[in-house]
Subunit: 361 residues, 2 copies
């Protein structure tokens, strides 16, 4: 068995890193040799193929253990054509929504035996998104979750979505794409209706940037609800999701006597709004009611605790993965958009118009 010395200068060429002395990572061939079987058998064993004798399997596993063998994904993919990896394109920020969504996606993907590769983009412009998708394509992902509030879809992106199964999350849909989304219109409706039911005669709105699709949907939902109730629609204030922008808009709102209720498009902005109102001496919720969106962890622990609309991000990530995998396995399946529903969480930042606050929870 030890007939051939491993060092018997096989080929004339040595590829390995210049730094000698470092033992190279063992490959399947090494495992096979040690176990006294062929590489193919090793492959079968590790793939869990049924037709392998227990004794052989044991030998292989022992060899794997002994050599500290680790499979080489690049080789596996090149050979099999499958990467068992899905890609996520997401904005490079730490917005609560993005982070949690990614969380959900990763969990679900891992459970299904897929790895996740993330490509972040610093901006929303088409070129940057194209780049991110290209990077994923180069990595050989089998599918992509586009978690970017796309409004404009470039032809190039559309082409990409045609060659790789894609699910958009909170983004606009393209012909070749499945869509999974939280019903943002409903979120806005819930918030606005809540305020109307408390007796407010008008509800103001601090929106997100209009390039963001979910900001636009929330704005639309808010407007529709007001109109349906026969109420006036005040002008829209626009923020950029940051607490600072909420603060700026809060300073404006606080100076307008009519304002008794505000629907803010995100919790972080809502914090800024409340802070500004506070400084202007307008009490929340006694003078002005505020509703946010997201239900971030801190929403419950500020004063007053924030009434908000919770979005099931994690669940949505899972749903997106499920759709994507279905689509990968059966490319001809129909694209049925899926929608998950947000839920209103009433806390202490809203109160009947002109009334006293409810007792704090």
């Amino acid at each position: 068995m030890s007939s051939e010395t491993p060092e018997a200068g096989k080929g004339p060429v040595r590829k390995r890193t210049a730094g000698d002395g470092v033992a190279r990572q063992p490959g399947m061939t090494d495992v096979a040799r040690l176990a006294g079987v062929s590489a193919q058998t090793v492959s079968r064993t590790l793939a869990g193929h049924p037709n392998v004798q227990p004794k052989t399997r044991a030998k292989v596993l022992a060899a794997v253990e002994q050599l500290g063998y680790r499979k080489n994904n690049a080789a596996r993919m090149l050979s099999s054509g499958r990467s068992r990896t899905i890609g996520v394109v997401t904005l490079q920020t730490n917005f609560y929504s993005r982070t949690n969504l990614t969380f959900g996606i990763e969990t679900a993907a891992r459970e299904a035996g897929y790895a996740v590769s993330t490509a972040t983009t610093a901006s929303l412009d088409t070129a940057a998104i194209e780049q991110a998708m290209s990077r994923l394509a180069e990595q050989g992902v089998e599918g992509v979750v586009l978690s970017v509030p796309l409004v404009h879809v470039s032809p190039r992106i559309e082409q990409l979505t045609r060659s790789v199964p894609t699910v958009t999350v909170d983004g606009s849909r393209t012909p070749a794409t499945e869509v999974v989304a939280v019903d943002q219109t409903l979120a806005a409706r819930l918030a606005t209706r809540h305020l109307i039911e408390l007796g407010h005669e008008s509800v103001w709105h601090v929106a997100g940037p209009k390039e963001w699709l979910d900001a636009a949907s929330r704005c639309a939902g808010w407007r529709d609800t007001l109109q349906a109730a026969g109420l006036d629609v005040p002008p829209v204030l626009e923020g950029d999701w940051t607490p600072a922008s909420g603060y700026r808009n809060g300073l404006i709102l606080g100076k307008i006597p009519d304002v008794t209720a505000v629907f803010v498009a995100s919790d972080e902005m809502a914090f800024g709004v409340i802070r500004a109102l506070h400084e202007l001496g307008r009490r929340v919720p006694e003078d002005i009611s505020v509703v946010g969106v997201d239900d971030i962890a801190l929403a419950e622990y500020c004063s007053p605790s924030l009434t908000t609309v919770a979005q099931p991000f994690t669940e949505m990530g899972a749903l997106a993965v499920a759709h994507l995998l279905r689509h990968i396995e059966d490319p001809d399946a129909a694209h049925e958009p899926a929608c998950v529903e947000p839920a209103l969480i009433v806390r202490a930042s809203t109160a009947p118009v002109g009334g006293r606050a409810r007792p704090r929870p």
Copy 2:
């Protein structure tokens, strides 16, 4: 030139996906054929090799464009042995710190021409971390940033860090590892000293979970500072980083008459503490001063705005990548631990003992 039909049943074997009709992704060979050059020349052109005639380069690029060619990372890696990818092991949470760190890492890595592959782990136990590192190793990463508050390092993990260049961030060091960290002891010192200088005769502490190295360091820094000032060291309260745990501890602190100053190990917990104190009728900062750690975006926009210790996460991510790359390129380089310094940001949640609050900013 058109002497051989492409369809001349070359090999007996067809690998491609069963679904026929779908044109397969073009490869270098296809590009080469279209451009009328060899695959090798295509490779050189795309790698930016200098010795390629402009005219040839142009032809190649045109062919690439026309075919929509995308390089195949798996093949490239298998062949060259380099993946130009670094891995990040991180906890699957949306803690502010983790998110921002990842942000910094990604940005820096991308600038250096490296891709980033993230492996998240749901728990801190050794097995889970081993798994995450293995996943990265299988992907062929050239280096790893371990962003996990490791306290115990298993031999197996140590073995892994020996075969792949590794930088620990906020984690304990292993012999084969470089360390980049925020000086958490200093963070605690800054916060505690600030409170002492305001005249408080004792400073309480709400710590993070003791398994977390940074929680432990902050706790140590706090204790040392108190002792150095000749003050008593009150018992430690322990939270789990969540606002809820801060709230629970706040309820306890609020019942203890002696308490006039609290150093909380994270901003999110600090929010909970403040909320609890509020409910118990203890005013912040008039009755009790509170300092947090992290400087999350909302710290400035709550009432009162939060005095906190800012940590340069993004910068630290960049530093970690720089170290890692240096180590990848020169494996024999010395491991010098690097430290970045946190900064105290004084806002409105702290005031002189028994004194009135400073005017709000």
